[in-house]
């Protein structure tokens, strides 16, 4: 027999190249299998959602795609469409000014609220984004008076006196606050009010016949502009009141505490619509007989106290979330109540409360549509009232309501995205 050969015929010197993973375990196939078809119930859900999305698209896309944008009445639009599915979006182009400014605002003045709206972004920017130069805050301070003058017009003296009153009040406060916080606050307020009452009489006497910007009455405000005015004014007024109420509710003085508790719980316990009824029919009884407060101001008062109560609850949560040690540390430094609140407690508590405050602001902005129920012509009021009741556009529901929904969605979604960004930005605890 021949010598036995080596039983190993072949020895591989280097490893095989790696084979690609099986097709079902890579790329899109893997993703689909793991995310859409991982088991039976998951696959059923996937199929159901695809069917739902298909029906939604089949319904909505042709409606938007075939939309008509240039006709001047519903009948004309139907003629153009000739039975094809399509939206009559021409109601939006034809009634654009009414939807945005209401039906009574003088059309030659449309540029004024539009300018005020654009300037709002410049005024809000330094408040919303901390990286911008702090000098811009001066414009933010001037903006309320400028916007008032632009939207309402009339003698420029009134906004100037308003500004002057604030300046005088602030000056008096900052002189006296070194001696005593409460004294500074009270006298500062008194000085501001004295300036306003003196100044408004003076302006009333000196006002020119033809002011630079023609005056527009409050009841001519309408459309989306009215929603914007109500939302921004009520939230900015409600913030300081809400802080005061929250501090009052935390106070050690029982009378102050219980007044705040009763106020907050009462306002939070009733629907906004009843408060708007109060503004509409009851509130006038509580003013002095000679005062003639117009409905817009009465509604702003009620919206302000409504959102102040909610903001107070949010800030109370922030105050309660602060560790007890912060209060004690402030006490041990010898700070008095006002100093401790201003320098230690509120900066931290407000930071915690920002998302909640933004939620209240978004909620209030959505709730401004309720004024249409007490027959004010905001965006919803315009749609349900003058536009749907007109002979040209009687029956155009989906285009108008869809437009209102989209407009509110853009604003509210934008604000809530900002709030989430801010929350990440302010998260200084390194977790």
């Amino acid at each position: 027999m021949a010598a036995k050969k080596s039983s190993v015929a072949f020895v591989r010197k280097e490893p095989l190249p790696a084979m690609p993973p099986p097709a079902r375990d890579r790329g899109a196939a893997k993703w689909i299998r793991e995310n859409l078809l991982s088991n039976i119930s998951n696959s059923v859900l996937t199929v159901l959602s695809i069917i739902a999305i298909y029906y939604l698209c089949a319904f909505v896309l042709p409606w938007i795609w075939n939309g008509v944008w240039t006709t001047s009445s519903l009948a004309e639009c139907r003629e153009v469409l000739q039975g094809v599915t399509g939206g009559c979006f021409s109601v939006l182009t034809e009634r654009w000014n009414q939807l945005i400014f209401g039906f009574a605002y003088p059309s030659e003045f449309y540029w004024r609220p539009a300018l005020a709206f654009v300037l709002l972004f410049f005024a809000a920017a330094p408040v919303l984004f901390f990286d911008l130069p702090r000098k811009l805050l001066i414009f933010t301070g001037l903006y309320p008076f400028l916007a008032f003058w632009l939207i309402w017009g009339g003698p420029i003296g009134y906004p100037l006196i308003g500004l002057l009153g604030c300046a005088v009040g602030y000056f008096v406060h900052s002189v006296l606050v070194a001696r005593n916080f409460a004294l500074g606050l009270i006298v500062g307020f008194a000085a501001a009010i004295a300036t306003w009452s003196l100044g408004s009489n003076l302006v009333g006497a000196l006002a020119p016949e033809q002011p630079l910007l023609g005056a527009v009455e409050s009841r001519k405000m309408g459309g989306f502009m009215l929603n914007m005015i109500l939302g921004t004014v009520a939230v900015s007024l409600a913030l300081p009141i809400g802080i005061a109420l929250a501090l009052g509710r935390q106070s050690r003085l029982p009378i102050v505490k219980w007044v705040c508790v009763v106020f907050i719980e009462f306002i939070r316990g009733v629907p906004l619509i009843t408060l708007l009824f109060v503004a509409n029919v009851v509130l006038a009884y509580f003013f002095p007989p000679e005062a003639n407060i117009d409905i817009l101001i009465r509604v702003i008062i009620m919206l302000t106290i409504f959102s102040a109560a909610y903001i107070a609850e949010v800030i109370r949560g922030g105050l309660a979330a602060l560790p007890r040690g912060q209060y004690e540390a402030a006490d041990s430094l010898g700070l008095d109540y006002a100093q401790a609140m201003q320098m230690i407690v509120l900066p931290q508590a407000l930071k915690i409360s920002i998302p909640g405050i933004v939620n209240v602001a978004v909620g209030l902005f959505k709730d401004t549509t309720l004024v249409s129920i007490i027959s004010m012509f905001d965006l919803v009021g315009m749609i349900r009232g003058p536009i749907l009741a007109s002979t040209e556009w009687n029956g155009v529901y989906w285009e108008l309501l869809g437009f209102a929904a989209v407009l509110f969605f853009i604003v509210c979604y934008g604000i809530s995205q900002y709030s989430q960004w801010l929350e990440r930005r302010l998260a200084t605890d390194h977790r």
Binding site: L253, V256, P288, K366, I373, R384, L401, F409
Partner: protein, 411 residues
């Protein structure tokens, strides 16, 4: 004799101490606050009295006993236009509670489904649910109410479409008719009711259901006990089913349950239950709007349960559904329930938007027609606010009791 040098000099009380001495300052502040409070309340009330006197009005509650002279289209209790304003308000209160209850149940369903599915690892479903939540949270509820009301009244056909030999529309299973006047459904009726009254029969049905509930609970307790003793859980699902169904079925047969179907008679449907478009619009809009908020609460609650809990449960060998039911959900509920209850409160308050679609809730009767007919604005709005505050405070009280009972007992 040495003098004690550190004995403080005893000073008399000075007026300035009221402001500068911390012992008295709080009293001074509160006195000032009290004076300002009573001063402003007094000022407002004196204005009110002057204005009322000028307008020749007074505050009086007599109008509540006068006949209302208006009709209400949804009457849970007996009511005619000759009934008093007080009875009209009570009908309104019941209508508020009906729509609030329906919307709370439906919103919870939508919210829990959307909240759980939003965390699903199915990409499409999770995205779809995010879209639902964002779309409904960021648009005013009033717009949703109006949109759904328009669908109910504009997009659905009139009862006329159901008439004739070759009608455009036909009733679903010959039972349901969807018209622009509302949805008509069959009405259950007992042919030989208990003590001759339908209402007693329904109470009996509720009692039987309650008994079944306790029976099933006893069964579960027994099963758990057996499991703890022997290690094997007895199979109980068919017993559970039987306890729910058998007594109910016997009762239904004994009392002769029958269904009254809606029939087209003349220009409208007769018989059956008519669910008006306004109720459906309000109910569905509130449910789907608040459902989006509840979905966020549910998601936050589930995410608040730490991942370690899920992993620990998985390492014990529990299967997916048990992990959710036995470990995650019981802990998440502690976080979910308080915001859930405040959403219920929001539904109750938002149901006052009924006035926008003409659903006759308490805002529509007491705050709407009664107010306009009698001109008693202050009285009506005061009563209206009292009703809502009572509801809110009682729900908050329940919530506080619950919060205290589930609070984590810390060391």
């Amino acid at each position: 004799m040495t003098a004690t040098p550190d004995a403080p000099p005893i000073e008399g009380f000075k007026v300035a101490d009221l402001w500068f001495d911390t012992r008295y300052r709080s009293y001074t502040f509160q006195l000032i606050a009290l004076v300002i409070l009573f001063g402003s309340i007094g000022y407002l009330i004196s204005n009110l009295l002057t204005n009322l006197a000028n307008a020749g009005l007074n505050i009086s509650w007599d109008f509540l006993r006068e006949p209302s002279n208006y009709d209400i289209n949804q009457k849970p209790i007996e009511y005619t236009s000759q009934s008093s304003h007080l009875r009209a308000s009570i009908v309104g209160v019941l209508n508020t509670l009906i729509v609030a209850f329906l919307a709370c149940v439906t919103a919870t369903f939508f919210g829990v489904v959307a909240g759980v599915l939003r965390l699903s690892n199915n990409w499409i479903v999770a995205r779809l649910m995010s879209a639902y939540v964002e779309a409904f949270r960021n648009v005013p509820v009033l717009i949703w109410i109006i949109i759904i009301f328009s669908i109910m009244t504009v997009a659905l056909p009139g009862p006329r479409a159901y008439r004739g030999e070759d009608a455009e529309r036909s009733m679903l299973f010959d039972m349901f008719a969807f018209t622009n006047r509302g949805i008509y459904t069959p009405r259950p009726e007992f042919l030989n009711p208990l003590m001759g009254a339908q209402i007693f029969s329904w109470i009996l049905v509720l009692l039987v259901l309650a008994a079944s509930f306790f029976g099933v609970r006893a069964l579960t307790t027994w099963a758990t006990k057996t499991q703890n003793a022997t290690g094997y859980r007895p199979v109980t699902w068919y017993w559970t089913l039987a306890i729910w169904l058998v007594p109910l079925a016997i009762l239904m047969v004994a009392m002769g349950l029958s269904w009254e179907y809606p029939k087209l008679a003349g220009f409208n449907f007769q018989g059956g239950i008519q669910i008006r478009g306004s109720l459906i619009a309000l109910w569905f809009a509130l449910a789907i709007y608040t459902g989006a908020f509840i979905a966020e609460n549910v998601r936050a609650g589930i995410q608040a349960v730490s991942k370690g809990q899920t992993e620990a449960a998985a390492s014990l060998g529990l299967r997916q559904s048990w992990i959710m039911n036995l470990v995650v959900l019981p802990q998440a509920l502690r976080v979910i329930i308080p915001p859930l209850i405040s959403q219920y409160l929001n539904i109750t308050k938002n149901s006052s938007l009924a006035i926008a679609v003409g659903y006759m809730d308490v805002t529509g009767t007491l705050g709407g027609i009664t107010l306009n007919q009698t001109g008693r604005a202050i009285e009506c709005i005061l009563l209206l606010m009292l009703f809502y505050v009572t509801i809110s405070l009682s729900i908050s009280a329940i919530m506080n009791v619950y919060n205290n009972s589930v609070k984590l007992k810390e060391r």
